[in-house]
């Protein structure tokens, strides 16, 4: 062993224990417990510091321990059943087994074991159920009886030759008895100089600060290898937080927020947006309707009349219109907001010019829910209005959204279709993993949409697929996660 030993830091309690063990070369843990008056847990904890430094060795010795069973205890006290049978036979023979059972007051199982033993030894005969001594004179061995008596006194007995019989007759059980022995590897005296006694004080207390004992106290070193316990704080929902960021960016671009109701009149969801009343998007399969009430009231303002005209003959726009009889009852039906553009439509009333608006709103469509569809989702929508606005400005807005909000410089514009805008553009982004993704769209509101609200200036309407944006940014593949109930995700989802 090397003579140069490393310095070892040990807590005072550990040092004390080390000294104690070192007095003897070998000591059992039970003895050690008696000497130190420590409980088992604490003792093992302190021993750990010594064994990990190879100062002492902890050895487990396994010993067989023979224990009497309940039957064994009875046999030790009352004699074994075969001996009792023999004494009964001396008094009274031949005898049948049920009378024997009454005399001996033992159960049948035990009795049968005794009879079986005697029969095997050839000491009794059984003729037609009657038990009597055989002709052969054999002495009943007293060995087993003696073993039982010794065991019942708690003495150690060599049972080797009888082990099988004793076990078979359920007189004993054998258990492994563990004995923990602590052996000294390095004597305390040899180590002494290399031991640095550390503190067993784990934390600074207010008292220590107040009474100044902190000056003389060395705190136990913190174990840096141990992971800290889990810690959960309050936090914003990751998707909600992302939407907050999007809102912030839009506000920075000069957009004013707008909001609308979840239950919407078809008027705002469709009619004001020049979607004909028999348009397929207004079908049962495409929009949620509500019952009780199923209809609301149309606004009292003049624009209703002009919207009607726009549908019927194009109003004053020069458009041909849809050329059918517009039905105010259909327009007053209540639906769940199916597109965020309904919020924009409401904003067209008394729209200030110039103006820029946005809304992030929950929208609803009767889709069967799966990894890519929800019946409830968020849409970011908005409008920009100014007399000077052109189609190229619209492309400019989409370009900014692509670069600044979608963080996707690799974008293209594609012709698109919305019933309420012309021309219409899709913002398509090429993602290296997913391929083309439709991130958003925009168009200039048709005059049939804006003129009924007295607006002559062009109005750009735009939308961003914020659900998709968040999913791509955070690598989420299942859209249902955005509205997750999983506390695990809500507590631990990464924020960047």
């Amino acid at each position: 062993m090397s003579s140069v030993k490393k310095k070892i830091s040990l807590a005072p309690e550990v040092v004390k224990l080390y000294k104690e063990i070192s007095l003897k070369d070998e000591i059992s843990i039970d003895e050690l417990k008696n000497i130190t008056k420590l409980d088992h847990g604490k003792l093992e904890y302190l021993l750990g510091a010594l064994t990990s430094n190879n100062l002492v060795e902890r050895i487990i010795e396994v010993k067989k321990k023979v224990l009497l069973t309940e039957a064994g205890e009875i046999a030790a006290a009352n004699q074994l059943v075969e001996r009792r049978i023999l004494s009964a036979l001396k008094e009274n023979q031949p005898i049948n087994s049920s009378d024997l059972s009454k005399i001996l007051d033992c159960d049948n199982r035990e009795l049968n074991a005794g009879i079986g033993y005697l029969k095997k030894q050839g000491m009794i005969d059984i003729v037609q159920g009657q038990i009597s001594f055989s002709q052969k004179e054999v002495e009943v061995s007293t060995d087993i009886q003696e073993i039982l008596v010794e065991l019942s006194k708690g003495n150690e007995v060599d049972i080797q030759n009888y082990e099988k019989t004793l076990l078979q007759r359920s007189l004993i059980t054998i258990e492994d008895e563990k004995k923990i022995i602590v052996k000294t590897i390095v004597k305390f005296e040899e180590m002494k100089k290399n031991i640095v006694e550390t503190s067993d004080i784990s934390r600074l207390t207010p008292e220590m600060i107040r009474n100044g004992t902190w000056r003389k106290t060395k705190l136990r070193e913190y174990n840096l290898d141990v992971s800290p316990p889990e810690f959960f704080t309050g936090r914003k929902q990751p998707y909600a937080r992302f939407l907050d960021e999007v809102k912030q960016k839009l506000v920075a671009y000069g957009f004013q927020e707008m909001r609308g109701p979840i239950v919407e009149l078809e008027y705002w969801n469709f009619d004001a947006l020049f979607q004909a009343q028999d348009h397929p998007a207004r079908e049962w399969s495409d929009v949620y309707r509500i019952t009780n009430p199923s209809k609301g009231k149309l606004p009292k303002e003049n624009h209703v009349k002009f919207v009607q005209k726009a549908h019927e003959d194009g109003y004053d726009t020069g458009s041909k219109g849809w050329r059918y009889k517009w039905d105010p009852m259909k327009s007053a039906r209540l639906v769940l907001r199916a597109q965020g553009t309904s919020v924009s439509a409401r904003t067209l009333v008394d729209l200030p010019i110039p103006s820029k608006y946005f809304s992030i709103s929950r929208c609803f469509r009767p889709d069967t829910t799966d990894a890519t569809h929800l019946s409830e989702f968020n849409q970011a929508e908005g409008i920009v209005c100014d007399p000077s606005i052109t189609f190229r400005d619209l492309l400019g807005i989409l370009e900014t959204f692509a670069i600044e909000i979608s963080e996707a410089p690799n974008y293209t514009f594609k012709p698109d279709y919305y019933p309420f805008t012309e021309p219409s553009v899709e913002l398509s982004v090429k993602d290296p993993k997913i391929g083309h993704i439709e991130y958003g769209g925009a168009g200039i509101f048709r005059p049939e949409v804006t003129r009924p609200f007295g607006i002559d200036a062009p109005v750009i309407a735009w939308g961003l697929g914020v659900d998709r944006l968040f999913m791509v940014k955070y690598g989420i593949t299942d859209i249902r996660e955005l509205y997750s109930y999983k506390l695990d995700w809500l507590r631990s989802a990464r924020m960047s």
């Binding site: 959960f232 309050g234 936090r235 914003k236 929902q237 998707y239 839009l250 920075a252 957009f255 004013q256 927020e257 109701p261 979840i262 239950v263 919407e264 028999d278 397929p280 998007a281 049962w284 399969s285 949620y288 309707r289 509500i290 019952t291 609301g296 020069g318 458009s319 041909k320 219109g321 007053a332 209540l334 769940l336 110039p354 929950r362 609803f364 889709d367 069967t368 829910t369 019946s375 409830e376 052109t390 189609f391 190229r392 400005d393 492309l395 400019g396 514009f413 594609k414 012709p415 698109d416 279709y417 012309e422 021309p423 899709e426 048709r446 005059p447 049939e448 109930y485 506390l487 809500l490």
Partner: protein, 564 residues
């Protein structure tokens, strides 16, 4: 959006050039179409067409027309010769108030194979379903011409009238067809609403079909052996039936068929004169280029405009005063206004080539006061160790009722739910927080969650959306106090006086529940959740929560949003 299947090889054959999927996708974008899927083994492309007002694009031939223009392979309006067929259709005045219009044509030398028949059927179905509004507005029928005698009669029949419908062996009465035939069950309601039975008959009395429900089994069956066919479109709108016929004729002519016209003899109650269909006279629109230039912010003279419009398969005449006259192809009825022409011009210029401009509309931005208020509440509740939730507004009625020991309430119900799970609108938040806790019993405690979210309420006169805040703590030693101190903290930071008065509520434990009120207006609830509910939801720790309506807090700016 309309989805169709097409053959990748056939599209390349039609265009006469090989195209990679990527190249094809780029060209298809000019026809507002995207490749949704490609199944190589079947040579099948699944295409999504984004326009609901361009049924001419809902087949490969229609897209190819557009692409040929973009690639300068063809320009202007595609034309084909229409000869007279000598056939006529007599329309009966009894149809005046139901389904009065019909447009017909005859196609000969049609070279049908199995694939083409399927494509034709697919196109017809898509048109019937979407543009034809599930056959209500228009529906298409095709018949084997060799079995039909002119004049064809479009009239009404008795419900006892019999014929053998497609797919059946035996004759059935019209009544029976509507009630028992698969198509009768699907589209029969349209006819039932008319109160009469429209019927198409050959001059010899043979039944062609019961429009818009079903064709007859023999004459109304198109097979690979059919070389000449009669195409008809019936409907409620004169323009619609004619544009649908024009689309079909154009598509068949593109395939090399000869098209023949049919005379439609209308009674004066329906249409003042007879019509020869297909009607191929071109509609036109005058465009002032100054307006277009300003709208798009591009420079185009009339020569350039003409070139661009031809590229988009229109015809164009240059007029004096920087104007053009645009002639519209007969298969398109989506041009309502000059803005529609503006889009055609800018598509021809290519969106990706004209260049975006920088922002010039300067305005000040801002969040709504209600959003600011909600954010403030969220901030305070996060500080109170709450984990924020965003959950569905559309929910399962049992979550709002039996799950929290409440009786059926007046909830706003969806008339056409996809599933029970999303069939009512939530009217408060805390029941779903209880539901969320019950879904997380395997996670460590304490579980502290909250939601600031919209709920929908109604009364006799109104339906409105408002924002509530609900907070919930689940822990082995959670008690009223844990909810109370957080509510108190919230109200203190919001500088709002509030009261809690003891109440009984089925969701909460008696004696551990209170109504929150501000300025004598009840606006929330607080308490320990009834153990009955915990047991039912298998939550094995106490749960306490509060919910408060934000519009009732005077120091916030949360307004309710009325629907009307």
């Amino acid at each position: 959006m309309v989805s169709i299947k097409a053959s990748y090889t056939k599209i390349q054959e039609f265009l006469g050039k090989e195209l990679s999927l990527e190249e094809l996708e780029e060209l298809l974008s000019f026809a507002k179409t995207e490749i949704d899927d490609y199944v190589k083994e079947e040579d099948m492309l699944v295409l999504d067409i984004k326009t609901s007002n361009r049924p001419d694009l809902w087949c490969a031939e229609g897209m190819i027309r557009e692409i040929k223009g973009i690639l300068d392979m063809e320009k202007g309006i595609p034309s084909y010769e229409v000869k007279e067929s000598g056939f006529s259709v007599k329309v009966d005045s009894s149809l005046a108030s139901s389904r009065p219009y019909i447009a017909c044509a005859i196609a000969k030398k049609i070279n049908l194979d199995d694939f083409y028949i399927k494509q034709l059927m697919q196109h017809s179905e898509k048109i019937d379903n979407s543009y034809g509004r599930k056959r209500k507005r228009s529906s298409i029928g095709m018949y084997n011409l060799s079995m039909i005698q002119s004049p064809v009669l479009y009239q009404t029949a008795q419900k006892s009238h019999k014929f053998t419908p497609l797919g059946y062996e035996k004759e059935m009465t019209l009544d029976k067809i509507l009630n028992e035939h698969e198509k009768g069950q699907e589209f029969g309601q349209i006819v039932k609403d008319y109160g009469i039975y429209p019927i198409l008959l050959s001059a010899d009395g043979m039944t062609l079909s019961l429009p818009p429900v079903i064709n007859s089994n023999d004459v109304g069956r198109i097979t690979e052996d059919t070389t000449e066919c009669l195409i008809e479109v019936t409907g409620t709108n004169f323009e619609t039936v004619n544009v649908v016929l024009n689309i079909l004729c154009q598509t068949m002519a593109d395939h090399g068929a000869d098209i023949y016209s049919v005379v439609i003899e209308y009674p004066p109650e329906i249409h003042k004169e007879q019509v020869i269909t297909p009607i191929l006279e071109l509609e036109s629109i005058i465009i002032e280029l100054d307006i277009i230039e300003k709208y798009l912010d591009v420079k185009i003279n009339s020569t350039k405009a003409k070139e661009l419009m031809q590229k988009r398969r229109f015809e164009c005449e240059e007029l004096e005063g920087n104007k053009i006259k645009v002639m519209i192809p007969p298969y398109r009825k989506d041009i309502l206004h000059w803005v529609d022409i503006a889009e055609e011009i800018v598509i021809a210029l290519d969106y990706n080539k004209i260049g975006p401009t920088k922002w010039k509309v300067l305005t000040t931005g801002g969040l709504l006061p209600e959003t600011e208020s909600e954010n403030l509440v969220r901030e305070i509740l996060v500080g109170a160790y709450g984990i924020e939730l965003v959950t569905n507004i559309l929910t399962d009625p049992s979550i709002l009722t039996s799950n929290v020991n409440l009786d059926k309430q007046e909830l706003i119900k969806i008339e056409n739910p996809v599933s029970q799970t999303y069939s009512v609108l939530r009217n408060q938040l805390f029941p779903n927080l209880v539901n969320v806790i019950s879904k997380n019993t395997h996670e460590s405690y304490p579980q502290i969650i909250f939601e600031v979210g919209e709920v929908v309420r109604m009364d006799k006169n109104d339906v409105w959306t408002q924002t509530n805040a609900a907070f919930c703590i689940a822990d082995a030693d959670a008690s009223f106090e844990d909810a109370h101190k957080r509510l108190h903290h919230l109200m203190k930071l919001l500088n709002t006086e509030y009261k809690i008065e003891s109440t009984t509520h089925p969701s909460f434990t008696d004696g551990r529940c209170g109504i929150i009120s501000i300025k004598d207006i009840q606006c929330g609830i607080i308490g320990e959740i009834n153990p009955l509910i915990l047991e039912k939801n298998q939550i094995w720790v106490p749960l306490v929560c509060f919910e408060v309506e934000l519009p009732s807090i005077p120091t916030l700016n949360c307004k309710t949003k009325k629907t009307y």
